[in-house]
């Protein structure tokens, strides 16, 4: 059973549009949700994160919206740029998870110029 799910698996947007990447989770004890960005040939790198006490986290063009009741979150990338083309992973950890991060399956984003 996959604890963290992402949709869509792939997404294509035009330059300047807003890309919306979705994530949901099963474990109600999860309280930390980072998003990682991965370019081909590289390891994932932390992009932005949110804790469950907040419902929104913004960093430049990247915003996480968090709905604790529905166990859902989304990553919005405004004014998408071709350089944002990458795979994005939603992850989660919590009080019962110790040092473990559980990752979703990823969303492959393509931004067309």
């Amino acid at each position: 059973q996959q604890q963290v799910r992402q949709s869509p698996q792939s997404l294509t947007v035009w330059e300047g549009e807003t890309a919306i990447l979705n994530c949901s989770y099963e474990d109600s004890t999860f309280n930390y949700f980072p998003w990682y960005q991965q370019f081909p040939g590289e390891g994932p790198a932390l992009l932005i994160s949110i804790r469950s006490v907040s419902d929104k986290k913004e960093d430049g063009r990247f915003t996480i919206f968090f709905n604790k009741r529905e166990k859902k979150l989304s990553l919005h990338i405004t004014d998408s740029q071709p350089g944002d083309s990458a795979t994005y992973f939603c992850a989660a950890s919590g009080v019962n998870a110790g040092a473990k991060l559980t990752f979703g399956g990823g969303t492959r984003l393509t931004v067309r110029p």
Binding site: V4, Q6, Q9, N31, Y32, P34, G41, E42, G43, P44, A45, L46, R51, F89, S93, G94, A97, G98, A99, K100, L101, T102, F103, G104, G105, G106
Partner: protein, 113 residues
């Protein structure tokens, strides 16, 4: 920025063969992790460690052993490699439990023929 170095970057082995993947981190992080990445599954945790001599079981440990020899070095061992272990392997490290940034290496692509 934390540095995590993996070797080799690419490896081909035969079914039933012995493989050791190496990882070194240079920022004195307590936690080190081994993940495998497969399309549609995201990153799945194999083993992790919170210090030299310590080993914790991850979510997909079958067929893998690991050993943390020093604060810096973490090894993943496949003693009887199978084609199902063909994957992209990532080593990672972090300073504290759970809710902190995890730094990834560039990955090792392993093919078992």
């Amino acid at each position: 920025e934390a540095a995590v170095t993996q070797s080799p970057r690419n490896k081909v082995t035969v079914t039933g063969g012995n493989v050791t993947l190496s990882c070194r981190q240079t920022n004195s992080h307590n936690y080190m992790y081994w993940y495998r990445q497969d399309t549609g599954h995201g990153l799945r945790l194999i083993h992790y460690s919170y210090g030299a001599g310590n080993l914790q079981i991850g979510d997909v440990p079958d067929g893998y052993k690991a050993t943390r020899t020093t604060q810096e070095d973490f090894f993943l061992l496949l003693e009887l490699a199978s084609p199902s272990q063909t994957s992209l392997y990532f080593c990672a490290s972090s300073d504290l439990r759970g809710a902190t940034e995890v730094f990834f290496g560039k990955g090792t692509r392993l093919t078992v023929v």
